[in-house]
C-alpha cells in the first residue's frame, strides 16, 4: 500500500470517528428526545459511512479488489436511518406529545394522534369491533 492511499484511509477513519463521537455526545448532551434524535441519526450515520469508505479504499489499495459489502452496508444504513428516526419520533409523540402544543397540520390533523383500531388505549374495544367486522 502506497503512502497516498494510507493517508486517504487515515483521513477517512479520523473524520468518521470524529462524526461518530459527536453524534453520541449529542445523544448524551441534548435536552429532550426530539432534539436528541438529530445527533445519532445524522452525525453517527455519516461517521459510519466515512469509516466504510475508508475500508473500501483500504481493500482497493492493498489488492483485495472492490467488494460490494461496504456499499451494501452504507446503502442499507442510509436508507434505514431516516425510517427508524421517524418511527422513534412517532412513538415518542404518541406517548408523550401534546397535540395542543404542536403546530397545525392541515385539515386531517396529525396522523400520529389519529385514533385507529388496535391502539394501546382501547384494546378491548378495538378487538371487539374487529370481531364484528370479521363476521
Amino acid at each position: 500500500m502506497n503512502v497516498f492511499a494510507e493517508i486517504v484511509v487515515a483521513i477517512f477513519i479520523v473524520v468518521g470517528a470524529s462524526f461518530g463521537l459527536v453524534g453520541s455526545w449529542g445523544l448524551l448532551r441534548l435536552p429532550h428526545l426530539m432534539a436528541r434524535l438529530h445527533a445519532p441519526t445524522k452525525a453517527t450515520t455519516l461517521g459510519v459511512g466515512s469509516v466504510l469508505l475508508a475500508s473500501t479504499v483500504f481493500f482497493l489499495a492493498t489488492g483485495g479488489g472492490f467488494s460490494v459489502h461496504e456499499v451494501l452496508i452504507v446503502l442499507f444504513l442510509f436508507l434505514t436511518a431516516p425510517v427508524s428516526a421517524s418511527f422513534v419520533a412517532r412513538a415518542y409523540l404518541r406517548a408523550h406529545g401534546d397535540p395542543a402544543e404542536l403546530p397545525r397540520a392541515g385539515e386531517q390533523g396529525w396522523a400520529s394522534f389519529a385514533p385507529r383500531a388496535g391502539d394501546v388505549g382501547d384494546y378491548m374495544a378495538a378487538s371487539t369491533s374487529r370481531d364484528v367486522r370479521e363476521d
Binding site: V14, V51, I73, V88, A91
Partner: protein
C-alpha cells in the same frame, strides 16, 4: 506484519472514539427518562458497533467481518422498528 505507522495511529484514534461513543450511549441507555430514549440509545449502539467491526476488519486486513456488520445493520433496524411499533400499537403482529 504491517508497518504503517500513520494507519495504526488513525485506527487507534478510531477505536478509542467509537469506544467512548459506546460508553456515552450506555449512559443514555441507563439514564434515559423515557423508553424511546433507551430505544434510540440502543439503535445508536448498533451503529457504533458496526463501525467498530469495520475498523477491526481494516486492522486485521481481512474481509471476514463484513457479513457480521451486515447482519448487525439488518437486525438493528428490525429491532428498532419492532420496539417502536410495540410502543405505538401495544403488539407486534396482528
Amino acid at each position: 506484519m504491517r508497518t504503517h505507522a500513520l494507519l495504526d495511529y488513525a485506527l487507534a484514534f478510531g477505536f478509542a472514539a467509537f469506544a467512548l461513543a459506546l460508553l456515552m450511549n450506555l449512559v443514555r441507555l441507563l439514564k434515559g427518562p423515557t423508553t424511546m430514549d433507551r430505544v434510540l440509545a440502543a439503535d445508536t449502539m448498533v451503529i457504533n458497533v458496526i463501525a467498530l467491526i469495520v475498523l477491526l476488519g481494516i486492522r486485521q486486513a481481512t474481509k471476514a467481518h463484513f457479513e457480521a456488520a451486515l447482519l448487525f445493520a439488518m437486525f438493528g433496524f428490525v429491532a428498532t422498528v419492532s420496539f417502536c411499533r410495540f410502543m405505538l400499537r401495544g403488539r407486534l403482529i396482528d
